[in-house]
Symmetry: C2
Subunit: 413 residues, 2 copies
């Protein structure tokens, strides 16, 4: 029983239902189901479904995938469901048969890479990979009508987003009301005990419960999680928006994209898609709040965590080095002045001294003010004090567009 309480706590951690009553109900049902399954000597059947609109699994997907892995770690049976059918019907645009066929091939190809990528997170040996085309493509018109007998139009239209659209008289397509049936039938077909999903999908997950009852099954427990905002800081992460970080992208891409996110996203990313422990996260939050850390430092840590997670530490270190180089290369003009200084001195020149030496300030004190006001960047990092922060080869940026390079005066060139 102790193990069960611990499991419940782990599985529900990070969940978000948007409704405390549903959360309470699901928590109780989950606990109950774990007790029953233990008594029956069987694992829970747990799944999450993923549509395949793009070849890449991105960070957004990993929120639930990491949760699936937690179930695996306790010995439960995990199905990684690939929505080959639901993806096929997802695009409402007019399509001729040739294009539909091409789309189907795309989906099948993407589905294959999906499964492969999933094993960056899930345990390959313990994961069932299924495709919902297998059962949904076999349903007939009569089956659909039968399922549609158990839902009212009102149930759909009281949902926030649909109600708003209905009230504004924005078209709500009949097609949209059929998705919950498709997704719900997945749960029936898998005889699921638990389904994971995004908070915004809660209605569909709950609809699946109703269908399971219709088909004589015990309704599944639904656990939902927040949606990950994309690197643009505005929309949910998705391939089509271009605001995503794919888990199979090269380490440099993962690192670079992570470095590009807005500071607001640092903590949500740490919380939702890394293994960094809560104590450390609390410290990060404190530092950010009190402005005692350069957010860039935390972003680098985040980027390292992600690359390490999908590759390894070595790849993370390389990515970090490449990033510094590449970003500099991108920003810095081809020909820039050099300032030579010796690195043998006991005490190196201050940052402002080099700036004055470069002729980018009219006086030493003007150079010092530039540094203290935050107008100076060394190797892509803004500096706030004057203690030497450069090395041989460092690029020092003053204001928006002026650069010089620090060169070791002792080096033979």
């Amino acid at each position: 029983m102790e193990s069960i309480d611990r499991q419940v706590s782990i599985y529900m951690n990070g969940s978000e239902f948007g409704d405390p009553q549903i959360k309470e109900m699901m928590t109780q049902e989950l606990r109950q189901r774990l007790i029953e399954a233990e008594a029956e000597g069987r694992p829970l059947r747990v799944y999450c479904g993923y549509d395949v609109t793009a070849p890449d699994i991105h960070l957004g997907h990993t929120i639930t995938m990491r949760k699936l892995r937690q179930f695996q770690e306790f010995g439960h049976e995990v199905t990684f469901l690939i929505g080959t059918f639901t993806t096929l019907i997802g695009d409402p645009s007019d399509r001729d048969e040739a294009r539909a066929e091409a789309l189907k091939e795309d989906i099948e190809r993407n589905a294959q890479t999906y499964a492969e990528q999933a094993f960056k997170i899930l345990d390959r040996e313990k994961t069932k990979v299924r495709y919902n085309y297998e059962w949904l493509s076999k349903l007939s018109f009569a089956d659909v009508i039968n399922m549609a007998s158990y839902f009212t139009v009102q149930q759909f239209l009281i949902r926030d987003r649909l109600r708003n659209r209905y009230e504004k008289n924005d078209p709500i397509w009949l097609r949209e009301l059929l998705y919950p049936l498709a997704q719900g039938y997945d749960a029936v077909s898998l005889q699921a005990d638990v389904q994971l999903g995004a908070t915004e999908q809660l209605f569909n997950l709950m609809a699946a419960r109703r269908l399971q009852e219709v088909f004589g099954q015990k309704p599944q427990i639904c656990i939902t999680f927040p949606v990950l905002v994309g690197t643009d800081g505005v929309h949910r992460m998705s391939k089509s928006r271009g605001n995503y970080i794919g888990i199979a992208e090269p380490p440099d891409e993962i690192y670079g994209k992570t470095m590009s996110i807005n500071d607001d996203l640092i903590m949500p990313y740490f919380e939702l898609v890394t293994d960094v422990q809560e104590e450390e996260l609390a410290e990060f939050r404190r530092q950010l709040e009190n402005d005692t850390v350069n957010p860039m430092v935390l972003k680098k840590r985040l980027a390292r965590e992600l690359v390490t997670q999908f590759y390894d530490e070595k790849a993370a270190t390389e990515a970090e080095e490449n990033f510094a180089r590449v970003v500099q290369k991108r920003e810095v003009p081809d020909e820039i002045p050099e300032v030579r200084t010796s690195f043998k001195a006991q005490q190196l020149p201050t940052n402002s001294a080099l700036i004055y030496q470069a002729g980018f300030a009219s006086s030493s004190s003007a150079a010092f003010r530039l540094v203290m006001q935050g107008g100076v960047t060394i190797d892509g990092k803004k500096i706030n004090d004057n203690s030497p922060a450069y090395t041989d080869g460092s690029i020092i940026k003053v204001g928006k567009r002026r650069y010089f390079r620090v060169v070791d005066a002792d080096k033979t060139s």
Copy 2:
């Protein structure tokens, strides 16, 4: 062109759309389609669909069937569509598989008798009989979702009946929104030029137009007709209400049920389901308005028309005779008094004289008043004057429950 204008006038006669603009549009499209088909040297493809919830085709069905026959008479290709699939999905109640199978068998059996009965009205040689199970059972979930992409929930909810239910928060089942797709796909499958139906089905017929366009066809012309009120005078005619007159019922049943309708229904029945010409109908209307006809007389005419239509004149005459006999038998107690009178006299006793003789009035004048006030019925017909209206064996009814039989005094018994 003269023939085309005449056809349009005949086909549209009796139609009711509940919307003059749609009627105007359909009339124009019908005319245009007839011109095109003539130019192409082909007949129009015309159909009407019938669900098979009961083994009997009833008068209500014949409104559109008679119209189909008119198309046949001008050489068009008529399909009598039996809704084997749509009937199967029509019953929303929970059903186990065994019951569903039994229902399917019922439907198939009923469908067979349907086709046979249809030929009481349609030309057997010129009628195609089709069953929509043939194509609708082949549609997949993906097909349904594709069709559902072309309709919005709002289009459904602005329909009067659904809007009212929505506003009252009466459940509107998602299933109900799928019927128009099923019926619409019939038109696609038949590549229909014209579909007939009931006025209340206009939305579904129009939805079919949209689907035909989606599938690259020219949208059909829809022609709709009023619903026939059942013999109860309240609800639409249907087997399940028990207020129907089946066209394959025995002549006595058709005759008797027609005699039982409310006077209000006489004219609608004449107009919608008989061949009686407009001039004569106008005369009937006048007579009813001015109370110059006993409605019973018109009802008998109506009953004769119907039996003749589905059988022949001889059957109609027999039914009339049987009706008089049976009705009397039903109403009259087994043992009733007899009043003997001679039929050889030049002048027979008045009706009131016999009533007084029977002891059913305290005086000749009281008996006379009974007759003149309409309290006396002879052989089921109310009498309003005193000239002898009886024959040997006539049953004379006085008030609500008193009867006597007239017996020829000269007969040897």
